[in-house]
Symmetry: C2
Subunit: 448 residues, 2 copies
């Protein structure tokens, strides 16, 4: 019997210990054999065909690299860590020339380089109207009032300390700018998925449900059917939120993003979270909530963020981001280096609830196969899909088409334009197509 | 009839447009009234009692702060964003004197400042044995071999490109060091939850299931019942993984952490993910996988990471992190500034599956109430719990107790020591107690 600790007595397995005494004995006796045979096996594998593309690492694979033979850096070298220097190309980008003023512009999330459904906070897209600030949380306030005294009986001004003591919730939600994919209305064919779909991110938001604050302030739900949300930045963004969304508990006054406080570019220390609704309503640097009995027709809902229809009329207050999907890789600007197996991967989302199904086509929408959805599928959050694909080297057009739990099917450009015409700027949720040619280059095309 | 766009014709609501024509008219007519009355209302609220603690922001609340009156910074000022400068205290920390060499040490996650279940990657805890490196992914390789040729017929060497083309999955899992809370065995009473429980983090990991690689290499599942995982850092960490865990598809060879590549401190570009199992088995900078027919009894499982039992024998290969929870706030080192309402918040987790229930006590374990669990509750991931509590200003002892889906109940120190004795270093999952005195100061105490 073997006692590795050199203490007297028999070694007895704990319930979760998967070794029997015999096995322990065998290991102790045979260990040197294992090591020797492992080294031989390692030598033998080197005659096995290696990856097609040789690189400088292969020729000296028997020599340990420097990270194996030297002492690395200590813990807490970086009290707040950063990505690898080899990932320096994975950044958010502004589209050059998109806007004249950098403070009233957009930076896009590099969806082609993302995995899963969580957007790293440092890569969350930005959309500002008068730039962003790093606001002092000790000086920031949230006022809650009514447009008249009967609609909200006990108006209050909250500090961050006041808010963060209240009962909080944490939920994973996507936020998409209403203008996401907007340039594709005009078939601009921007080159990469970062620019076609990158006004899209998904985080675990933490905060207090807005209804908790309204009830704390004595709201009259019967007559107070609209909420005005107002931001503290220079643009003082204001948007109307229908009270139905607040009453169901989904609207949050949030301070947390992926486990820590919001990022300054995303509204630190406080923003509104309006699940499923276009990003402009998710007012950043939130400073005021007003309860009213009529919609507010603010600048950013009366004359911006509206869609011009074929009839010549505008669609206003278009709130919900409809079911949508996109293949993130392979995507525009990438190149397939060889024929063979690829894991086609992308994202699907719906402002009306959960994604039910995603189908993928490799021939421009003639034949479809159903993709794997990564679970658990969550409400008004991104859903990751993956599907096996073997590229035979011939031209192909990859597409994804999502269906949400209401039964809504993501439309083609042909279907969408038939209803919306061609003069929209916002709310483009059409099926995205990526063309692959024989050289392996992938580009953005439109298929009706 | 009103047409805000000055186009001819009637404004007709789109399906999701919640305005009626009457409402649009009312808004257009009444808007100036609203603005005027809102400002008056804002003035009126300032006579409402404010938060107990005055601060410099209150006296000039009618003056707009500088972030409201100036142009902020443009988009993509930071292509990779960082937290607010006001959050500079939220960092991972090494415990001074814990280890003699910073490369063989720990840095702890500041759980007291976290929300939800996702750990921001920059705050993920570290545990290194010979420091960390930022490995060049183009030079990194993963070898998969068998301890003899019959156990794995087609050994291979994979590049990162090879691996990242394979079918991938994304799952949220906690990782906890086996030594987490270890110092509390000896009732050291380290002062804060960062130090008592901070070797704990949770991320969305993305990668390829290990079984896909093993099957790609022709594994013999009948005789190959153990996997050896080996890392590329100077310590060449090696651990045995039982094949049952690999066969069920849960073990992943991962490159993704919260939507982007792993962080260098957490194993970039490749690590093993072994859900529910202690962190040491999640080999970082993974370079080799070997299939064998006996356990390996490596240094880090034969003589380290073992528990000395009262009988004088050691418990080895203790793999599964048992059900555990902790209140993250209020917690040691914090101070309650006033009586009244608090949202008591914490985390629960189990290496055996999902958390079923968390109870909270305010009197050291005599009376318990069931807390709210944030959903969806996920398998072998952190679960966030919250419960309302009103502090009456008197001494109190806060505790949380988790139950997992197997029915296992988190033990008290008394219950745990009765089985494990007092000489353990690892696998401390006892109930944590936080004492609150009349001054509001919160400290770490042990209750048997």
């Amino acid at each position: 019997m073997v006692d590795i600790t050199r203490q007297p007595g028999r070694l007895r397995p704990a319930p979760e210990n998967f070794l029997s005494e015999e096995q322990v004995r065998a290991v102790a006796a045979g260990r040197r054999d294992f090591l020797r045979r492992s080294l031989l096996a390692a030598g033998a594998t080197l005659t096995v065909p290696m990856a097609a593309r040789a690189s400088e690492g292969d020729s000296n694979i028997l020599q340990n690299p420097e990270w194996t033979t030297t002492l690395g850096q200590p813990v807490a070298t970086r009290p707040y860590g950063l990505p690898s220097k080899f990932e320096s190309n994975v950044i958010r980008r502004e589209s050059p020339g998109l806007a004249r003023v950098g403070g009233a512009s957009v930076s896009f999330t590099p969806l082609q380089s993302m995995f899963g459904i969580i957007t790293p906070s440092g890569l969350h897209f930005e959309r500002h109207h008068q730039g962003w600030h790093d606001i002092d949380p000790a000086r920031h306030r949230l006022m809650v009032n009514g447009s008249d005294d009967s609609l909200l009986k006990k108006p209050k001004v909250y500090t961050m300390d006041d808010l963060m003591r209240l009962p909080s919730v944490s939920r994973i939600h996507f936020v998409e700018c209403g203008a996401n994919t907007g340039l594709e209305w005009g078939n601009v064919a921007v080159p990469t998925v970062q620019y076609t779909h990158g006004m899209l991110s998904c985080s675990e938001f933490s905060g207090v449900p807005l209804k908790v604050l309204l009830e704390d302030c004595g709201v009259d739900y019967k007559r107070g059917r609209y909420v005005l949300a107002e931001g503290a930045d220079g643009s003082s963004m204001t948007r109307t939120i229908p009270m139905e969304m607040v009453e169901n508990g989904e609207v949050m006054v949030a301070w947390g993003q992926n486990g820590e406080m919001l990022r300054p570019e995303n509204g630190y220390p406080l923003r509104l979270v309006v699940p499923g609704v276009q990003g402009v309503s998710w007012v950043k640097w939130l400073r005021r909530i007003e309860v009213g009995d009529k919609p507010y027709a603010t600048k950013d809902e009366a004359v911006h963020y509206i869609d011009l229809l074929p009839s010549g009329l505008h669609r206003q207050y278009s709130s919900i981001q409809e079911c949508k999907s996109v293949i993130a890789t392979p995507s525009g600007g990438q190149t397939l280096l060889a024929k063979g197996f690829y894991n086609v991967s992308g994202l699907a989302w719906s402002g009306r609830g959960k994604i039910k199904q995603v189908d993928v086509s490799a021939d421009g929408g003639i034949n479809w196969r159903t993709a794997r959805l990564e679970g658990p599928v969550q409400n008004k959050a991104l859903t990751r899909f993956n599907i096996d694909w073997v590229w035979d080297g011939k031209p192909a057009i990859l597409q994804s088409r999502a269906i949400d739990e209401t039964g809504y099917v993501q439309p083609t450009y042909g279907q969408l334009r038939a209803v919306r015409g061609t003069k929209s700027i916002y709310h483009n949720n059409a099926i995205q197509s990526w063309k692959i040619v024989e050289s392996g280059e992938v580009s953005n095309v439109q298929v009706l």
